[in-house]
């Protein structure tokens, strides 16, 4: 998918990568199921209610969480609102251009959003203020600072890490109006969903694809798992199909990687 937008790999480069992979190797020496170095920093911003910055190799994603007051969705009047948004800002790649979200940034935001929602990271029914009128609104803004592949996992890690450190402003409700009290309390986060993205190149599944690998990939699959090891979101992308067996294999790989990474994120806090 990324290939169409982020520059076409030359045939030579493409062949080289494919040949390497068919001989069981990756350009940077990693194993097929090996992530690059993952670094997670939380509370990197003072003005946001929560924040985290995630580095996976040279990929760098910043997430800021803002929690405010707004109106609920029409069909869930008594529940808080969570909105994910992703910005592919032009500093991140010579191929990113300023402008409104395109197909790729919308897909990214929706995968992260669906992962959080399916896992049940927050209890939305506890986020109402005046039912049907005012509720807490959690805005998760994903900011891509440097692109070197696997934006989905980096964004998903940053989003949940930021949420886990978020505080929620406390409001006083009085005569149909809300007033900020100035106090903030910890946001209760119930789950830590972890996204694991793989690409298929030749007949191999590779986790944590680099930008080069995304350029030559045939298809991509992201499996998000919650704390108990249940699957909570899957997204297949890319123009090649997958067999049932390949999907099963991908789920198995994801299960292993997710629990490794979850301990990193859950452990990364004070």
């Amino acid at each position: 998918m990324m290939s169409s937008k982020y520059g076409i790999a030359s045939r030579l480069k493409s062949k080289r990568i494919q040949k390497l992979i068919s001989s069981g190797k990756r350009a940077d020496g990693r194993g097929f199921d090996e992530y690059r170095q993952i670094t997670i920093k939380t509370n990197v911003l003072e003005k946001a209610e929560g924040s985290a910055e995630v580095f996976i190799g040279n990929t760098r994603v910043l997430v800021g969480v803002k929690i405010g007051v707004g109106t609920p969705f029409e069909d869930t009047p008594g529940e808080g609102v969570l909105v994910c948004n992703a910005e592919f800002v032009p500093i991140a790649s010579p191929f990113f251009e300023p402008g409104p979200p395109d197909e790729n940034s919308i897909e990214l935001a929706r995968i992260v959003d669906r992962g959080l929602r399916s896992a049940g990271v927050v209890d939305f029914s506890k986020l109402d203020l005046i039912p049907g009128k005012l509720v807490h609104v959690i805005n998760i803004d994903i900011y891509i600072l440097n692109y070197d592949g696997n934006l989905i996992d980096a964004s998903a890690f940053a989003a949940i890490a930021a949420l886990r450190t978020s505080v929620k402003p406390v409001y006083e409700v009085k005569e149909g109006e809300v007033k900020p009290t100035g106090v903030k309390e910890k946001l209760e986060v119930l789950k830590t969903p972890i996204a694991v993205t793989m690409v298929k190149i030749g007949n191999s599944l590779l986790v944590d694809p680099s930008a080069d690998e995304e350029e030559v990939m045939e298809t991509r699959i992201t499996v998000t798992l919650e704390d108990e090891g249940n699957i909570c979101t899957i997204q297949k992308s890319g123009s090649e199909p997958l067999s049932f067996d390949e999907i099963k294999k991908a789920v198995n790989i994801a299960k292993v990687k997710a629990s490794e990474i979850r301990s990193k994120i859950a452990g990364g806090e004070g």
């Binding site: 998918m1 029409e74 979200p101 197909e103 919308i106 897909e107 935001a109 929706r110 669906r114 929602r117 399916s118 896992a119 049940g120 298809t219 699959i221 919650e226 090891g229 249940n230 699957i231 909570c232 979101t233 899957i234 997204q235 297949k236 992308s237 890319g238 123009s239 090649e240 199909p241 997958l242 067999s243 049932f244 999907i247 099963k248 789920v251 198995n252 299960k255």
Partner: protein
């Protein structure tokens, strides 16, 4: 791997068995201006698809020198949902447009149409859960109606979990109140999955059951697709062409393998 098919007492909100599809109707060649078209009713879903192409790409810079491009649009009519929705495309529409393209692309010999595009426009006239799957199912038929050779038909349906049970082809109510939803698109002859999404909570075992059940569902849908293609030929074409139609998909694939 396939789920137990023991007939159970259990009945769903609309009276269906757990592994039963909603009433399904597909009609081919329903629009005179499109190169190919199809209309699908799946439950209360009503979706119409028009295919244009292969044709010149506008604007030109979107064309590719060595292959054709597939362009899709999934769009919901303002009156298709309750409450009314804006005709401007939502983020969900954009995402579905994308997965719809990926679901159909593997079935088309795009490399045969350099500098050209095949455009598939789907209009959801009434939405009742599972619109993306019904759209993909109808699009396959519309592509054949447009005379575009295909590696295989793509059939799609979702399986999910509702009230603790794995069930086939979720309706709107089951979709909104269920525990999980797994839409898949499947090429029955090639045994390949071209669309796979999942939301909710499932164990790995339940997830595999869902896929198996969806594949069964897709096979049934595939028969309805073939009927729709045949029926069109019966009405419009000679006996000889009907045979041709029947072998159409088969041939295309063989051609591909040579």
């Amino acid at each position: 791997m396939t789920p137990k098919k023991v007939k159970e007492e259990f009945l769903r909100v609309d009276g269906r068995a757990w592994d039963e599809l909603r009433p399904l109707k597909i009609e081919s060649g329903v629009l005179s201006n499109a190169d190919g078209s199809a209309y699908i009713e799946m439950g209360k879903n009503k979706i119409i698809v028009g295919v244009f192409g292969p044709r010149e790409v506008h604007p030109k810079h979107l064309s590719k020198p060595h292959t054709g491009v597939l362009r899709c649009r999934y769009h919901m009519a303002p009156f298709s949902t309750d409450p009314r929705r804006s005709p401007a495309p939502s983020r969900r529409d954009t995402e579905i447009t994308m997965v719809m393209r990926y679901a159909l692309e593997p079935a088309i010999f795009l490399e045969r149409y350099p500098r050209s595009s095949i455009d598939i426009y789907a209009e959801v006239l009434q939405a009742d859960g599972g619109t993306r799957c019904a759209t993909i199912t109808a699009s396959s038929v519309a592509l054949v109606d447009a005379g575009i050779p295909m590696r295989d038909l793509v059939a799609a349906c979702s399986t999910g979990k509702y009230n603790g049970r794995i069930i086939l082809d979720l309706g709107d109510y089951e979709d909104k109140n269920g525990e999980a939803d797994v839409p898949i698109a499947y090429m029955p002859k090639l045994e390949q999955i071209t669309l796979l999404q999942m939301d909710g909570i499932l164990t790995a075992e339940e997830f595999e059951q869902c896929i198996s059940l969806s594949i069964e569902g897709c096979k049934k849908i595939y028969e309805v697709q073939r009927e729709a293609i045949k029926k069109k030929y019966v009405v419009e074409k000679s006996e000889k062409e009907i045979e041709k139609a029947e072998e159409f998909i088969e041939e295309s694939r063989v051609e591909d393998e040579q």
